[in-house]
Amino acid sequence: MKKSILSVLLMVFLAALMVGCERQQATDYDKTIIFYSSQGDKLQGLTKLAIDAFEEKYPGWKVTHTPQGGYDDVRDKIVSDLQGGLQPDLAYCYADHVALYLQTGKVVDMAKLINSTQTVLDKDEKEVVIGYTAEEIADFVPGYYAEGKAQNFANYKDYGYDDDSMFMLPFVKSTELLYVNETALIKAGFKNADGSAKVATTWDELWSQGATLVKKYPTATVLGYDSEANWFITMCQQNGWGYTSTSADNHYLFNNEHTKAWLEELAGYYTKGYIVTQMDYGAYTSNLFTKGADDGGVIYCIGSSGGASYQATDLFQWGVYAIPGSRQEDGSINKSVISQGPNLVMLECGRCSSDEAKELKKQMTFLFLKELLNPVFQAQFSIDSGYNPSTQSTYQVDAYVEHLAGKTITARACVVAKTLTNDFFTSPAFVGSSGARTQVGNALNFAVTGQKTAAKALADAYANCGGK
């Protein structure tokens, strides 16, 4: 009896060991491109197609795609990997992540690859040029492309890069959009002469509609804003209040009289029931938008264009618009809107067997990156995700043209987002810029919900960033 129990235990133990070994199987590291992203189920399936195409075209090469949860998870994992030389060859990134990676000098300067005229052979022995042509570079949406240039980063020269260095390429992009419950607006009497809904185009207009709306819909909230931090940063940009700068003397400009006055104003609107934010609600406010005005939802919702599918509903007539702007002293309206979405960064191979292998892997990784930026792939990816493609020629791909002509909320979001290209802005990237983002988001939450006065919330945020 005892013996049989012992032998069973031993067998379980051995089986466990074997499973363990099986999972730790080594792969040919020199010829395996590791790619980290934050893609969910659906998009992974799509990326798989690009990977299959690449692997077929270049026999012997493999791509391992490892999704890591969210953007922050990708960053944390890479920070850990860099310490052991296990970093991926290609990864999703935001500019402030790259600012962090730059400290190791392991970020690949893509300028050299972009301009490379070298070739490699594909499976049909055909020569493929590694770099991009001038037209291909011009095909990128200029604002997106410029984001990856060295000048946008602090201290790059300390880490061995020069002015012409290029740290990242845009993958797909999103911005913030105003999703509107038009039915609710019309019912409350906000309509134009032609009977269409009168949608607020400035913040002042939006707040002036508030009183009527909360009275008409006793459980509804006027505006749901998904990202507190984006709201703060966008207002700073629209009004020129100052948020952060790359200058090392003082990175943090956001603690000023203008922002204070604005937060106080918002706190007033919050008590009137005009505002709900993600932190306040505990989930994306798109969940509130789709509920409708009579059921405790929101009437206006500002969320990512990449998340348009979450705003879809048949309950009422919806519309997609640019977010409200701020009226300037000269009477014009500044409608600046934040540009977000993943970029792609390449990192040096940490454990390649030789320098040649390292160089070759770099080139092949870049070719895989080009697969991801190929207009046909970009079109499909944009259709499925709701993000905007980063190259202009994607807008000519048939499937995408057809998609944009559709009536779905994702299609509408893409069309509206495309018209905003000139209003896009990004904020400076430096070590600590993501900290500033978190801090202003928290400050807004504290001030609006009345936990702290606006002045205290801002001062605390400033101190927490390390400002003096």
């Binding site: 920070v79 978190t438 939450n445």
Partner: protein
């Protein structure tokens, strides 16, 4: 045979026993063979880290991410400690003083509270016969749970779902309080009430939630220990007390408590130690950011936060400070318990 060869022979003779001696010595030391795996593992994962923490804490501007071939730090000194204590790490995130304060509040309220409650429950348990085992089992259950999983359950008791204009559910706690006419409180949400003392946040509603959890999760172990201690207390003492016609509460405080005071002091010490190292329960209830911007951060949470940020020097300094705090409390405990505990 010359003298020389004789001497050589002698030498050889004397060598034989010495090599045998060496062999014997080795044989007598074969215990090392048994402890070798543990020693190797500890050398790598325990002893080296301790030394490294003491060294690393004094490396200024110590960054995990740095250029290859460079040291990753700028010099030696106390700067890490100074900046950690001042909250001037320049990276955002948790402040050490806030974390220290939180940890103290949770520990010094919840540990005595749960010890007292455990004592009362244990006394109650000794006075009943029927269903004693069943009650004992129920009280032990919280021990088996996972802090993160149960943290999530506790969070549901206190979470308000919905917007301020359309609340879907106020949570069980608020429902309960409304029976007494108390208005709903946003216990753990973003609008949770808080006091502010200088740069310190005192999110009292969240504190209450954390303390309730700590008391609940601390009970099983304490009841287990106290109950068995109480059962071992000699019956004679009680009989003597009966003759002196002492009241029940007198018996409890004058006789029982001193008799099990070694156990009480043991529980307080282990409770304090455990309290100083709180982390996962807070994450379970308040999420990975430990409230909003680490306002519910603990000392251990502080350390992990800087590990994840790659600010190695601050993490080391933080862990040494935690060590120092624990040592201080152990010392105080030893002194106090020597004076008051009856053996």
């Amino acid at each position: 045979m010359s003298d020389e060869t004789l001497a050589l022979q002698n030498k050889n003779n004397s060598q034989k026993p010495s090599s045998k001696k060496f062999w014997d010595f080795l044989k007598s030391q074969r215990g090392w063979l048994f402890v070798l795996p543990a020693v190797v593992l500890m050398a790598i994962f325990t002893f080296y880290p301790i030394i490294n923490a003491f060294v690393g804490a004094f490396k200024e501007n110590y960054q995990a991410l740095h250029l290859e071939g460079e040291k990753g730090y700028t010099g030696w000194g106390f700067e890490n400690f100074v900046r950690v204590l001042k909250g001037d790490t320049g990276t955002g995130g948790a402040s050490f003083m806030q974390c220290l304060f939180n940890t103290f509040v949770f520990t010094f309220i919840s540990v005595p509270l749960s010890t007292l409650l455990a004592l009362l429950i244990s006394v109650g348990l000794t006075r009943i016969k029927v269903l004693q085992k069943a009650y004992q089992t129920v009280f032990f259950l919280p021990y088996l749970t996972n802090a993160l999983a149960m943290g999530a359950v506790f969070a549901t008791f206190f979470t308000i779902v919905g917007t301020s204009r359309n609340v879907e559910t106020y949570g069980l706690m608020n429902n309960f309080l409304s029976l007494f006419g108390i208005k709903p409180v946003d216990w753990i949400g973003s609008g949770s009430p808080a006091w502010h003392w200088g740069s310190l946040n005192v999110p009292w509603a969240k504190y209450i939630v954390a303390i309730i959890y700590e008391v609940w999760s601390g009970l099983p172990f304490k009841i287990l220990i106290l109950f068995s201690a109480l059962q071992n207390v000699n019956k004679q003492y009680y009989d003597a007390a009966k003759i002196d016609s002492a009241s029940k509460s007198t018996v409890l405080w004058k006789i029982t408590a001193p008799l099990i005071s070694p156990m009480l002091s043991y529980l307080l010490i282990t409770g304090l130690m455990g309290g100083m190292k709180q982390y996962s329960a807070i994450v379970g209830i308040f999420g990975a950011d430990m409230g909003i911007d680490y306002d519910m951060g603990t000392m251990v949470g502080y350390i992990y936060q800087y590990i994840e940020k790659g600010a190695t020097g601050f993490a080391f300094a933080g862990s040494l400070l935690l060590f120092a705090v624990i040592m201080v409390f152990t010392g105080i405990n030893l002194i106090v318990s020597k004076k008051t505990v009856h053996y």
